[in-house]
Symmetry: C2
Subunit: 409 residues, 2 copies
């Protein structure tokens, strides 16, 4: 009998920082029949443009010339026509960009991983909001950073206090970048005001570090006015994307479909050039046929049409959730009122744990959601929870919120 290899000593030090996503583990519970899910936050498949995608795949494979591109290896930067479309799209949102500013990634999750890989030496500091998108914390944590909290809407901390904090535990370690989701944030649903965005740009400018703007949900606005992206504001200040310190992450996962795994990074060519090397060493290139199909789906107004449909689809779901919360939930519980996106963030009374509530909710109310603590880099937030209204129909949302509310009375 030969003993199994003892793998533990073989792992890199960074493996200590890799944990299973509690959200992903939770998704397994959702396969139970009869559960209304406010977990996940995944797009509603009713919105996927299936017929147009089928046509686009057929077109991509219609001629040998096209097949030779669609099914072959390709350049790591991404499919040219898609990069050009995205550059034009950025221009309509206040950032004059060219294809040289664009890298195609395997969803924006891969962009988060690449930025950790490019920027973080162990011990360096990432400035994040509290709470923050869990997937970003997971991606960055593989590169063993320290986290510090920024509060763009209100903070009395000086830039120097961040820099001082960074060097305290690890001599020579630096603040390397800030990470924010300015529009309809995951998990809170909140949007940063223009004042807060400018304050954040002042901070990162003073610290002389980049800021990563995760724009995953920005297209899904139901009401109110668009706030210029951090990158647009930054380009307005410095005059050009080539001098900008904002690294913008876009994705088609929430507006078209996540299954094609296509996102992008828009940034200074200096950064894009480095990230192309990382893409090359990490997985060569995003599936070309998927990039061709995505380009077909979004060109000629296709993207704008899909956004109109998505907004019209999710808005009544948000309305149902906010109305039910308002009607049913007892005092002492507060929640955000998102103007778009897929999430409502609930703060429970101090003594009520989101995990405790979840265990009861699944058994007694047949409802699932995500306890909020996983979104806090500092382990706080025990009395919070994230609700997504993306999947259930409005009547199911109302019934589900009503059943949770019963548990809180």
């Amino acid at each position: 009998m030969i003993a199994a290899p003892g793998w533990q000593p073989m792992y890199a030090r960074r493996a200590d920082h890799m944990k299973a996503s509690e959200i992903r583990e939770l998704l397994k519970l959702l396969e139970r029949p009869g559960i209304t899910s406010f977990a996940g936050g995944i797009p509603d498949p009713e919105l996927f443009p299936a017929a147009a995608a089928a046509q686009a795949y057929r077109d991509a494979l219609a001629t040998q010339a096209s097949v030779s591109v669609a099914l072959q290896y390709s350049v790591s930067e991404g499919y040219g026509p898609l990069r050009h479309w995205i550059a034009d799209h950025m221009a309509t949102h206040g950032v004059q960009a060219s294809a040289d500013n664009i890298l195609i990634t395997s969803g924006s999750q891969q962009a988060l991983d690449f930025l950790g890989k490019l920027l973080l030496t162990p011990g360096d500091t990432v400035l994040v909001t509290t709470p923050s998108y869990l997937g970003a914390l997971q991606a960055f944590s593989a590169y063993e950073p320290r986290y510090d909290t920024i509060c763009p809407e209100q903070s009395n901390r000086t830039p120097a206090s961040y820099a001082d904090g960074a060097g305290k535990e690890t001599p020579g370690a630096l603040v390397k970048f800030a990470y924010v989701v300015p529009d309809f944030a995951n998990p809170t649903g909140e949007t940063l005001s223009q004042v807060a965005r400018n304050r954040l740009l002042d901070l990162v400018s003073e610290l002389d570090v980049p800021v990563v703007e995760d724009s995953a949900h920005s297209a899904l606005r139901f009401e109110g006015n668009d706030v210029p992206s951090l990158q647009a504001l930054d380009v307005g200040r410095c005059g050009s994307i080539d001098r900008a310190r904002v690294i913008y992450l876009g994705t088609f996962s929430k507006t078209v479909a996540p299954g094609l795994r296509i996102g992008w990074i828009c940034a200074s060519p200096a950064i894009i050039g480095r990230l192309v090397l990382i893409k090359q060493a990490s997985d060569l290139n995003v599936s070309v046929i998927n990039q061709m199909v995505m380009h077909k789906l979004i060109e000629k107004g296709g993207h704008a049409d899909l956004i109109v449909q998505a907004r019209a689809h999710y808005r009544p779901k948000r309305d149902a959730m906010l109305q039910s919360l308002s009607n049913e939930v007892p005092s002492g519980v507060t929640w955000t009122k998102p103007e778009g996106g897929l999430f409502v963030w609930v703060t429970l009374p101090e003594a009520v744990s989101g995990y405790w509530l979840l265990s009861r909710a699944i058994e007694e109310a047949k409802v699932a959601f995500v306890p909020g603590r996983a979104f806090f880099h500092d382990g706080s937030g025990a009395n919070t929870m994230r609700l997504s209204y993306s999947l259930p129909k409005p009547a199911m949302i109302e019934a589900g919120i009503s059943r949770i509310a019963t548990l809180l009375r």
Copy 2:
């Protein structure tokens, strides 16, 4: 005028180890008209199963139930039916595996990146052959290892000498794994004998480290007998995949098409469990629709048929190249005689540089290839070159080799 941010100080230490692939840069030269390319080593698009793929994409998008899977997020492990198919496939090659032993990756390049990420702390040692697959060196180098050379076919080094070497520069650093391409290696085209494979297993067993078996080209055998995979030999020794120390990397890029970006890792569940966390943090999951299409293409004998076609397609190309080399090239030049795969490896006279020959070959002979030095972790190999016969037709291969030979006379 605002100065551009000085990005250099912001990069992680590992960024010093990231270089552009010389191969990828070379691919840009190939767009020049009239060049016969022995560079690249990419599969011939004539072999891509375009009609079957078109049908499979249509099927995946034919019903709302299927669309809801195909275009949605999914579990990081990979699409269940594809994992099961691969487990069965491994069993026919001497490794009794279940789906729990399989992780789907974005090509085997991503598997190389993930193993570097899981196993390497800066300063740790990777044992590689000299030369070695360039993409593996690129993937590992992001995690700042040191390299040492293994010679599975012949070596008088003791296991202890590897362990001693690992700790010399970085106190506490370890030999973490060995990396080999046992079948029709990239870049040499050579295949490790069963004796050499057993010797390698003895070595890694003595060192108590895993070995990464990159099996990218193993299906493309034109003649001779299959040699059991390292993983099959290891399972034969230890009794079970769950106790095996071989981590096997497979890919459909050379047998089906690279554009779907689908490879896999077969390993102990302990390793797979860790790698799933890495997949989750890196890019969530491989495009589900591509996984569904790949499964359709390979099931019911589809994979075996594609392999038969690929072998019949590449064999005459290899024959043409070996025959031309034999007929045309002056003495003092030697080359490998691969029994399969896509590469012939040429050793020039000591004083002749592969880079010098390439610059002349492109201008004077209208032929491109890859100078061999990039495949050596230690900077040696200046007088070597890699020739791929995968793309040109046999007559073009003969003419191209003849024109290179003229430069060597």
